[in-house]
Amino acid sequence: MADKRILVVDDEIRIRDLFSEVFSRAGYTVKTAESAEEALEIMVKTPFMVLFLDLNLPGLNGVELCRRIRKGWPMSICFAVTGYASLFELSECRDAGFEDCFTKPATLADLLAAAEHAFTKIERWKKR
């Protein structure tokens, strides 16, 4: 459990609070950002390996944020959590490099399974 840190990016405080509580309870260390710009600032200082991003962010949107993270920190794993996604947006999510996409309301089981899967994958990479 050395570096089980998750960054949650959502412009709504209710969602940030909820996700913080859910992941903290499961033993993760959580940091939140309310915009893509803030998330990128955080990444520059202390990179996160696992991120949950809202797609509909003010300013730079979640898809673009994912692209930049994948470019700057290729080992980081991003999950999309969105209130609404058309088929087109779903395919755009895949192209942007999201590991998976969840529509709100996502179940806690889905979110936790995603986080666990991501950290297992990272562990596997590290062992190489």
């Binding site: 209710r14 909820l18 859910v22 209130g83 609404y84 058309s86 309301p105 179940t107 806690l108």
Partner: protein
């Protein structure tokens, strides 16, 4: 597709009706302007009409004018049948609201071609209208999902967290589960709304209609289109 014909002459009307039926149209035949206008006012009235210009009483030209005044919401394509072929007559006919004219005596091939132009125009307009309706529905669906799913995420997530904290024997646990199950129901609805791919409405109370979410959100099968 339905087509209306207004022709006072029995033999001409019968021939026209026979030809159009043979070409696959569903023909509504009338023998004067008044009944033609009346037929075009009915629910599910034809969108395509062949009107003889020269008729006793209300003539084809007047039918065109009256029909345009009705401002029907669907596309109405009007073809005047006329032995008048002076430039002035043609202009007068088109200005009265006709979309096209056919000079009598007409040639069957030309009649067929002009009727097909009308059918094509109507089909394009109908499809465009359906597309616009669908876009409106999709925009509404997007807004509803976006606005509802945010609070739903909070309600659903916090209920799940609370359920973890409360003992299953506690009566509050049961109550909370009921709340959670209803939240899940709303969540299922927003997921269905997100899957809408076509426009389909169904009757509701009185005159009003509502989107048939169940049908509209089913995956569209190929060839599943009744144009």
């Amino acid at each position: 597709m339905k087509v209306l014909i207004a022709e006072d002459e029995f033999i001409s009307r019968t021939i026209l009706e026979a030809i159009l039926t043979k070409w696959g149209f569903e023909v509504v035949a009338t023998d004067d302007g008044e009944s033609a206008l009346e037929a075009m006012k009915q629910p599910n009235a034809p969108q395509l009409a062949l009107l003889d210009w020269m008729m006793p009483g209300m003539d084809g030209l007047a039918v065109c004018q009256e029909l345009r005044k009705l401002k029907r919401r669907d596309t109405v394509y009007l073809i005047l049948l006329t032995s008048k072929s002076e430039r002035g007559d043609i202009i007068q006919g088109l200005e009265a609201g006709a979309d096209d004219y056919i000079a009598k005596p007409y040639n069957n091939e030309e009649l067929r071609a002009r009727v097909h132009v009308g059918r094509r125009m109507i089909t394009i307009q109908n499809e465009l209208r359906e597309w616009e309706k669908l876009q409106g529905v999709l925009e509404m669906a997007g807004a509803v999902c976006h606005e509802l799913n945010q609070p739903l995420q909070s309600i659903s997530g916090y209920s799940e967290l609370l359920l973890l904290d409360i003992n299953e024997d506690d009566t509050k646990y049961q109550t909370l589960q009921k709340i959670k199950s209803q939240v899940d129901r709303v969540a299922q609805l927003t997921r269905k709304i997100m899957k809408i791919t076509r426009y389909q409405s169904k009757p509701y109370a009185g005159e009003s209609r509502i989107i048939d979410i169940e049908y509209a959100s089913q995956i569209k099968k190929e060839n599943d289109y009744d144009g």
